[in-house]
């Protein structure tokens, strides 16, 4: 079981009281031993940040390895409890599992091109720091003196139009809102969305790029990704679509793949320059 503390500490909670809409799922300070629950987290980075905060150390000094382990335990618990997790969380788990292996095992072969485990950990630490910084910035922003709350404009302005001589005003936002909502109104409205049975690995890869930036270095991930995929028959379709998607990306010149031997991990790397269709698969 994993202990989950509330996401906001008391101080934050006080600062923020009344300043923004409360999250729909609010965990309270007095909540005892909490089950694994990803409700209320804004994605895997948020969850990682929360786990990191519980180490109660500066983010700069945090052990990424320990953090990865905690995250993986968290995900394992969730899976045991059959809690459905969004793809983002699973893909992050796969990447952290990969990272963990890179941090623990000495590099098998010297590969100049491949990012070292330490570099990958630094990348993650950077992203966590950046996210936390933005979060703090948001808090500082919202706590500033605000127009209409702490300082005020003239209450009784005198009729004066100084800007353009235009008689009519409208913003781009007004225009787009009007267009989108009226087009939407008339479009067939009863669309039922079938619950997706499986997410393709291409999708997973897109999530991954969002989570971790581009694969600027050779990255072996597929095997880790697979172990976090939903079980059963879905895995086969995922595997198939994964491979197809990968080849597709290679064909488009967006990705390079490399494999040391048959059944060995598939290494991926994004092509920054336009070397279209460089396929380096062996075996």
């Amino acid at each position: 079981m994993v202990n989950t503390k509330t996401k906001l500490n008391k101080q934050d909670a006080q600062n923020l009281a009344g300043l923004w809409e409360e999250d729909t799922v609010e965990r309270r300070l007095d909540e005892p031993q909490l089950k694994v629950d990803v409700n209320g987290y804004e994605g895997p980075l948020d969850l990682l940040l929360d786990l990191a905060r519980r180490q109660k150390v500066d983010l700069a000094k945090i052990s990424i390895l320990a953090l990865a382990e905690q995250y993986l335990v968290f995900i394992e618990e969730a899976r045991k409890l059959r809690i459905e997790l969004a793809a983002d969380y699973l893909v992050m788990a796969a990447w952290l599992a990969y990272l963990k292996s890179r941090l623990l095992l000495p590099p098998e072969q010297e590969d100049e091109e491949e990012m070292s485990g330490e570099e990958m950990a630094a990348l993650l630490a950077f992203r966590l720091k950046r996210l936390e910084a933005m979060r703090d910035a948001g808090t500082r922003l919202i706590n500033r003196n605000r127009l209409g709350r702490d300082f005020f404009a003239r209450g009784d302005p005198e009729p004066i139009v100084i800007e353009q001589h235009r008689e009519y005003t409208a913003s781009l936002y007004d225009l787009l809102t009007a267009y989108a909502s009226q087009r939407q109104r008339l479009s067939v409205s009863h669309v039922t969305i079938a619950k997706r049975e499986v997410w393709s690995l291409q999708e997973a890869r897109e999530i991954l790029i969002r989570l971790l930036g581009n694969f600027s270095e050779w990255t072996a991930l597929d095997s880790f990704l697979l172990s976090y995929l939903p079980d059963g028959s879905q895995r086969n379709t995922a595997l198939a679509s994964s491979f197809a998607a990968t080849l597709e990306l290679v064909k488009e010149g967006k990705l390079k793949v490399r494999q040391e031997a048959a059944f060995a991990p598939l290494f991926l790397k994004s092509t920054k320059t336009r070397e279209s269709g460089t396929i380096a698969t062996e075996g």
Partner: protein, 236 residues
Amino acid sequence: MGNSNEAQILAFDPSGSGDREQKELREHLRMVEAIVFASSDPVSVRALEERLPEGVELEPLMRELQQAYSGRGINLVRVGNNWAFRTADDLGFLLQREAVENKKLSRAALEVLAIVAYHQPVTRAEIEEIRGVSISRGTLDVLMETGWVKMRGRRRTPGRPVTYGSTEEFLDQFGLEEIGDLPGLEELKGAGLLRSQMPANFMIPEPHDADELNEDEDPLTTDDLEELGLLPPSGE
């Protein structure tokens, strides 16, 4: 009037070496100044007194403030038993000169405008088809008046309906470099303006506003313009 003393108060000199009384006076002046400024109506003497520390006499305070603003661009004026700031009489011309009323476009007009922008060249009947309702008289007139919509030509179909399109001023108003900068389907979804699940056949056209007429468009002739009431009849 004691000029030296007055000037000091008027400037609210923050480094003022004045004694405590002076400082308090300055503080009270600041308070009433802010209250009258922020209020949407002239502020009653009672309301002012309520917000000042107890025992502060309002009358001399207001006279002091009024004095400070006399001769300036704005004056503190008494309206019955209330106080308000007003532009100095002699500067009224600054405010009147271009007192054009800024109107907001109606929702319907915005919708039609957007359809013209995205679907141009488009006829009135086509706009109505897209909207699913008829356009009330005057909506297109208003849009033409804004200068954002223009008549482009006539569709070479029965009835020769007029086609509408957007103008340069339209781009200017909405901060677009070219009409193709209007966001497409994916971007409208991305900005949260459209549901992410839309029917597969749902399309948003890629707008273009080339001056060049479509194949099925005829240019507007002088006769057309007269007929549409856009030109004074020429042949008298």
